[in-house]
Amino acid sequence: MKVFYAFVMDGMKTALRGGPLYYMWMLFLLVLIGITAWSYSHQWTEGMVITGLSDQVSWGFYIANFAFFVGIAAAGVLLTVPAYIFHRKDVKSVVIIGEAMALSAVVVAMGFVAVDIGRLDRAWHVIPGLGKFNWPNSMLAWDIVVLNVYLFLNLFIPMYILFKHYQGKETPVRKYFFWVVIACFWAISIHTVTAWLLSSNVARPFWHTALMAPRFISSAFTAGPALMIIILQAVRRYTDYPVSQSVIKMLAIIMTISLQISLYFVAAELFTDFYFEGAHAASMHYLFLGLDGFDGLKSWIWTAVGLNLVALTLLMVHKTRENRVTLNIACVLGFVGIWIEKGMGLVVTGFIPTPLGEIFEYSPTLMEIGVSVGIYALGAFVFTILTKVAIEVELGRIGKHKNILKGVGNISDTVKQVKTAAAK
C-alpha cells in the first residue's frame, strides 16, 4: 500500500515536471479545454439551440466524433494482440503507449456523449441500480456498459504492469493473460455496439444495414494505426524512449489492408443502393450526388473519397510506405478521410431525408466546434500524462527498487531487448 502511494506520488510529480516545451504544450491544451468550458456553459444556459442540430438532424458533430473516437479506442487492440498473443518483443515495449491512446480515446468519446445529451444533470439516471437502466433492450445502455468496462480494462492492465515495473519486478504474462484476452474481445465489442447504435434503427434505412459494424471496424483499423504511427514517431522524437521501426512498419501494413477493406465495403454499399435505386437509397443519393437541389455533404464525401484513395496509393506502393515523409502524409490523409466519411458521412446522412421525407441540412456551428476542441484537448492531455509517467517508469527513472537506490537506474527487460533491437 505504501509502495502504491509512492507510485502515485511519483507519477504525479512526473506529470508536473517537464521542460518548457512540455509546459507550453500542456498550457495550450488547457486553453482549449477552457474554450470548451466557456462554450459549454452557453450550451447549458441557452440550450442546444446553439448547435446546428434540429429535430430533423438530431445528432451531428458530437455523435460523429463519438463514433470516430470509439473506433480509435478499439484500435488499441492492434498493439495488444501482437504484443501479448504473438509475443512480439518490439511491440510489447510500446504496447503501453497503445493502451494510453485507447484510454484517452475512450475519454474523448465519453466527453462527446456528455456534451450531446440535453440533460447532463440527469446523467445519474444511467447508473445501474441508482437510475433505471433499459437493459438489455437499449443499444445505448449496452454502449455505456461496454465503454466503461473498456475504460477500466485499459486502466487496470497497464497500471498493474507499470506498478510491478515500478517495484523492479517482471510479471509473467500468464498472470494477466486472461484479462488481455478479454480486453481484445472488448475492443471489438465497443465498436460493434457503437455501430449497432445506428444500425439498430429500422427507421433509418441508410444505417439499417448489417455492413455497418464491419464498416466501423475496418475504418477504425485504418484511422487508429494512422494516429498511432504519428504518435509513436512523436514519442521517438520528443522522448528518449526507444520505438522500433518494425512496429511502425507493422502498423502501416495493417492500415493498408484495413483501408482496402474499408473502401471495398463502401463500394459494396454503393452498388447495392445505386444498381436499382429504391426509396431507401435516398440518403446515399443525397450524400454522393445531392437530392432535390440540396447537396451540403457532397463536397465532404468526395473529399473523403479522394483523400482515402491518395492515402491508399501511397500505402500500397512499397517505396512510399517505407518512406517516412510519404507514410506520414498517407497517415494524415487516411485519418482525415475516415473522419469525414465516418463522422459527417455516416452519422449525419442517416437523418437526410427524415422519415417523413423532408430534406433539412446540417452543418456544425462555431459554438459546437468550440465545445468540441477542448474534448480533443482533454484526450491529448490525458494521453501526455499517462505516456510521460509510463516512460519514466519503463526507463527506470522512477521506482522503488535496488538499482534506483544504488543510483544506476533500472531498465526493464523488455526495454533492454528493444534497445538492442532498435540499435541493430
Binding site: 429500422v202 417523413l356 452543418s363 456544425p364
Partner: protein
Amino acid sequence: MTEQQHPDDKSLDEQTLPDLAKRHFFKKLGMVGATGAAAATGVSSAVEIIKEPNKPSWGGATFSDAMGDFFQDHYSRMSDEEMNEALERIKRKAKQKFGVDINCEDTKPMPDTYFGYALNISKCRGYRECVEGCIRENNQGRDSQVQYIRVLEMDEGDSNLEHSDHYYDPATVPVAGKYYMPVQCQQCDNAPCVKACPVEATWMDKDGIVVIDYNWCIGCRMCMSACPYWARHFNWTEPQIAAQDLNPNTNYLGNRPRMKGVVEKCHFCTQRTRKGRQPACMEACPTGARVFGNLLDPESEIRWILENKTVFRLKEELGTEPKFWYYTDEARART
C-alpha cells in the same frame, strides 16, 4: 431574440399558425442556404445565441425545488407522496415561470381501455386546424415552434412521403390534384422508441399510449433516431409560452410545461382522453376526418371503421404495429 417569434409581441391566436409555420420554413430555408454555402469550410457562419429573458437562478425554481427535481425518482418507483411533491413543484414552477396557477394531476389509465385513432384522408382538406388545436391544448413552446402533427400535402396518385410538401400554404387549401395526410405519433404497439431509450424514460402505458416522463429523460435523442414517423421533438431551448396562452389543466405524463433538453411528442391528450374526452386535434378538426376511441369497446366508432372500411397503416412493413389507421370513404366491398 432576433428572429424568434416571441409570444409576447403577438399571441398565437392573432397570428394564424400556418403563417408561423411558413415563417419558420423560410427561416430554415435561409439557414439551409447558409449552411450549404458554408459546407466547404465546415462552419456555419451564422451562430445565433439566443438569450433567455430574465432567467432566475436554479432554472426558475427555489433551491429546494431544484434539489427535489434533481433527486426525483423514476415514475414507476415514486410513492404517492413523492408524486404529490413532484406535482406541487410543477405547479410552483409554472407560477414562477408563467405567473399562472395551473393544475397538474397524475391521471392513470382507465380500466378496459386501449386507445386507437383513425383518420379519413378523403375528408381531410389540409386546414391544419388539428395542428393549432394541439398546440393550444398541449403547451408546446411557441417560439421553439414544436408541433406534434405534421400535415403533408401529397400529389394525387402518389404516396411517396419524399414527394410530400410539409410547408404548403394553408390559405390555398384544398388544392386541386392534392390530398392531405396528417402524421403524428402513431402510438406503435411495438414501439422502437421505447426499446431504444436507455433509461426507460418513455414506455407504453396500460391504455396503449406511449408516454414520456419529462423529468426522467436525459435528452440523448436515441428515441428520435428510432422513430420511423418523425414524431418526436426535442426542446432545443427553454419553451416559452405567453401567460394567456398557457393551458392550466395539465397532466404529469401529458401536457404539463416541459423544460429544455428533453423530448416530447403526441400523447393522445392523456389529460383529456383519460377522463373520457376527445383529443384536442379531433375536437379542432372541422371536417370530421378524425375518429378516436377505445379499441376494446365493440360499440365504438373506431371499431366500426376498422371492421367496415379499407384501412392502412404507415410503414406497416417495419413491424411497429401503429395504433393509428388511415382510411378513405370508399366502403369495403363485402362478399
